[in-house]
């Protein structure tokens, strides 16, 4: 009997869900955004320091 994709997923749901805990993807995304924004702010800080030193 041919199973549809949904049925296959349902049949292996317990296994799949235990294996693929996708919470890590959320942590990774949070870390990327945090590091990215921080990096940009540091660059702004450097720019400001340069201007301050010119005077």
């Amino acid at each position: 009997m041919k199973q549809t994709l949904t049925e296959q997923f349902d049949a292996n749901a317990a296994e799949l869900l235990a294996k693929h805990n996708l919470m890590n993807a959320v942590y990774a995304v949070l870390a990327i955004i945090f590091v990215g924004i921080l990096f940009y702010l540091f660059r702004l800080d450097r720019k400001l320091t340069k201007i301050e030193k010119q005077s």
Binding site: A13, L22, V26
Partner: protein, 286 residues
């Protein structure tokens, strides 16, 4: 992950859409229980499973050193101790699973980028109309911070795609191709701006360029994916919109404030950058 004794229990279910009411027994048998989130798997009468990842938080009962009894706390599941009724509502999406939370981070990046690039376009028009160099500097800051948001949107999207679509960059998706072209246009903006020295000439040329590429960018990442026959992204090319995923509108309650918050954050950063650029301009003229 420690498991409960694995005994299968017959549970009576009631409740309506998105909510489950069940009679359950929570003795943990001989399994060692640590304080952690546990998934609930329910075997349905047709032999299939209904999986609810991290649905309940089990805590060891006070004074229990062996860790064999547990009770549920701090989760969307509630236990009515008088009647031993187990009640929970749990939004579970196939494939996305827990990563559905990225809706609050990945999607607002693009909203913020569009908002900032749009405002940048607006200030570019304002510069072309009134010729104030300040407007040009602010437009430039908005576009640059918008590009930062766009890059973060790309990277977070790739991370999310890796775990759900099994590829860092599924090139068949029209939205991704559109973004690749659109971002290149904005990188060209940065190049163009860096090559021009005279502030007024630089302002005029980049303002015209910015006004031209913004509508093209919108067409590439918003309109084209909607017209295309297939897309992996929700709301484009025959894929259902995200509102179909969010059955009880709980996510909406957090999504809209998240969008406003992210836009405000990027606007603030753009404003800081503008003030620094203005300071630099004043120093050069002094």
């Amino acid at each position: 992950m420690p498991q409960a004794d694995g005994k299968r229990k017959k549970i009576k279910f009631s409740g309506d859409h998105g909510q489950l009411l069940a009679d359950m027994d929570f003795t943990m048998g001989n399994a060692k229980v640590s304080n952690e989130y546990y998934s609930v798997f329910i075997e349905l009468s047709n032999g299939k499973y209904l999986g609810l990842p991290d649905a309940i938080y089990l805590e060891r009962a006070a004074g229990d050193t062996a860790g064999t009894t547990a009770y549920i706390s701090k989760s969307s599941a509630h236990v009515n101790s008088d009647r031993e009724i187990f009640e929970m509502s749990f939004p579970n999406r196939m494939v996305l699973n827990e990563s559905v939370r990225n809706l609050f981070y990945h999607v607002p990046m693009w909203f913020a980028m569009l908002a900032l690039l749009g405002m940048g376009c607006w200030y570019a028009i304002k510069y072309l109309r009134f010729g104030q160099l300040e407007d040009d500097l602010f437009a430039d800051s908005l576009v640059r911070v918008g590009i930062v948001a766009g890059i973060l949107g790309c990277v977070t999207g790739a991370t999310w795609a890796r775990v759900t679509w099994q590829s860092w960059w599924p090139a068949a998706d029209p939205k991704l191709n559109g973004v690749a072209i659109g971002m290149t246009m904005y990188f060209a903006y940065l190049l163009l701006r860096s090559t021009l020295q005279d502030p007024f000439q630089r302002a005029r040329i980049t303002a015209v360029y910015s006004v031209f590429i913004f509508p093209i960018f919108i067409a590439l990442i918003v309109i084209m994916p909607k017209l295309s026959p297939n897309s992996l992204h929700p709301g484009s090319g025959g894929t259902v919109g995200f509102n179909k995923y969010d059955l009880d509108s709980t996510m909406r309650l957090f999504f809209y404030p998240a969008v406003i918050g992210w836009i405000a954050l990027y606007y603030w950063i753009a404003n800081l950058r503008f003030r620094i650029a203005k300071l630099k301009e004043n120093k050069l003229n002094a």
